[in-house]
Assembly symmetry: C2
Homo-oligomer: 291 residues x 2
């Protein structure tokens, strides 16, 4: 049996096929252009495989995932030119009449990391996955299910307590200024310092400011969801940076509740090479197939 | 069939019996003294009723609710003198060998409000209940279930963006200073102004500051959980105050996501006279009985 995965990002798409053990058999990457061209490439790719039983799609958003909505399966009001109001699932479903699982990119990644934890015999039933990259977003699993009754989480836009050495920075979110995304997404490095994050050494104080905000995101998530684990991915994240985040998290929590060893609680993805969403998609496709 | 409810608060206990329609048949209130005396009063009360099939308990905390913990059913490390490490469920179970549902006070209230919404034919499957009183806490239902893998939520201790006119107030949380509880619990009125909240007119600017923080709590909850409804109870909350909260919420959200009419989204309890937890306990007791 083969399962398909589409990880639909704002800059690139990753299509893959795998088996029931979630092993990737084939994978292809291409840039995100127009919906017509990009979705056609997806369809042409999967046409090469017989025996494809189901597809898991995890997409950039915002997306409609309320099954009772006429726009279910659509990318909705995205700022990405041309992609607003695109019937993603409908288009794929027309080409392949097989079960399709539809969720956000970060939910797909969260599910991949959740499945891997379970395979490693960690008996968890909740996990949150944050991406800190061009934007900031999070996916969450609670009691083994995705959360969001009215829609998917948008944790990137919460407000946080401002760092005393960062009070003058207005933030860069076009909607909110200094929401979390407006303060810690990759492009905030350029906005603050004129330099890209990858060119600023971790000894620079700006990294302490970033760690303070990411630690608050982890704190909010912990106090709200009490998940078993919080995974951080995206270009801004590195193991060295997470060390700083853990120090600030410990300080903010002040032993109020115990989350176990921080090295096991605030972690990088267990699945390497940005493969979390692909694995998650396979697992979600299989669930959909078995329904 | 009769169902029991114990709402265990830090200052008073409310015990009640009701039927399968969640109608209260009898109710009694007494102050919280020692665990021995208080739990004996509960037991003596319920002994008067034959045909009691199950009891729902919603308790102040922190409490242990992981079923696989040896301390399941305990109040754990509470600051309330004498109540740390008390085997609440064990004590009740010894007196009545019937099913017992055990959760936090705010979870009990959340469940009561959730059940009432459902009875009123609102087809929701998520709801968050905040109490803003002597302390600040929240209970949450997601996909029809309580959340919290490692323990119950502690949303009262998140950090928020400070109001520009409140930057000098250090907050009163003994653990965190200016966490949400340290900034908006009832006693913060005295700490800021020397006067009790009930004696400060809603036209006073301190209420705008309070509304700004409560709106951020609602925003964090919305962006993280996307619940169908957020209910606010506790001494600090009034319909007039919630009007201010809605204005600040709208401003902070800046049309980023649609939550429907704010008058229906950020609301006071539908169940009057602080009865949310009692009704929730009845419903949870019934669930436990039917298991
Ligand atoms: N080592 C680094 N340190 C800090 N920021 C980085 C680093 N590497 C990449 N970035 C930033 O991360 C962002 C890209 O994030 P990434 O997760 O790779 O892509 P996307 O979010 O677009 O999928 C850019 O703003 C980039 O400048
Ligand atoms: N009208 C009011 N405005 C502001 N604060 C109030 C008001 N009424 C009561 N409070 C405050 O609420 C707190 C009590 O909250 P309450 O929910 O009644 O009890 P508890 O949280 O102890 O169960 C006290 O700090 C009290 O000063
Ligand atoms: Zn924003
Ligand atoms: Zn606190």
């Amino acid at each position: 049996m083969l399962l398909g995965s589409i990880e639909a990002g704002g800059t690139k798409f990753v299509c893959a096929v795998g088996n029931e053990d979630y092993r990737t058999k084939d994978i292809v990457r291409f840039p995100t252009t127009t919906p017509e061209e990009t979705l056609t490439k997806c369809i042409d790719y999967f046409k090469k495989f017989d025996d494809l039983k189901a597809i898991g799609i995890s997409s950039f958003g915002p997306i409609e995932l309320r099954k009772n909505s006429p726009k279910y399966g659509f990318i909705t009001n995205t700022p990405k030119p041309g992609w607003s109001d695109v019937d993603f699932v409908g288009r794929i479903k027309k080409a392949f009449n097989i079960p399709i699982h539809w969720t956000t990119d970060v939910n797909g990644s969260a599910y991949g990391e959740y499945v891997i934890s379970t395979l490693f015999n960690e008996h968890i039933n909740s996990l949150v996955y944050y991406t800190i990259g061009t934007g900031v977003g999070a996916g969450a699993i609670v009691n083994g299910q995705f959360i969001g009754d009215l829609g998917h989480p948008e944790m990137g836009h919460v407000r946080v307590k401002r760092h005393p050495d960062d009070l003058d920075f207005p933030g860069i979110c076009p909607f909110h200024g200094d929401c979390l995304e407006g303060l810690v997404s990759g492009p905030t490095f350029e906005a603050r310092t004129g330099k890209k994050g990858q060119d600023i050494p971790l000894t620079d104080h700006v990294w302490d400011i970033m760690a303070y905000y990411v630690a608050q995101a982890a704190l909010q998530t912990t106090l709200t969801l009490r998940p078993a684990k919080i995974v951080f991915g995206g270009g801004v994240i590195s193991e060295e940076f997470l060390k700083k985040v853990r120090v600030q998290f410990k300080d903010l929590m002040n032993d109020y509740i115990d989350v176990g060893k921080l090295e096991d609680y605030l972690v990088m993805p267990a699945i390497k090479e940005n493969g979390s969403a692909t694995l998650g998609d396979f697992a979600l496709a299989l669930l959909e197939y078995r329904k």
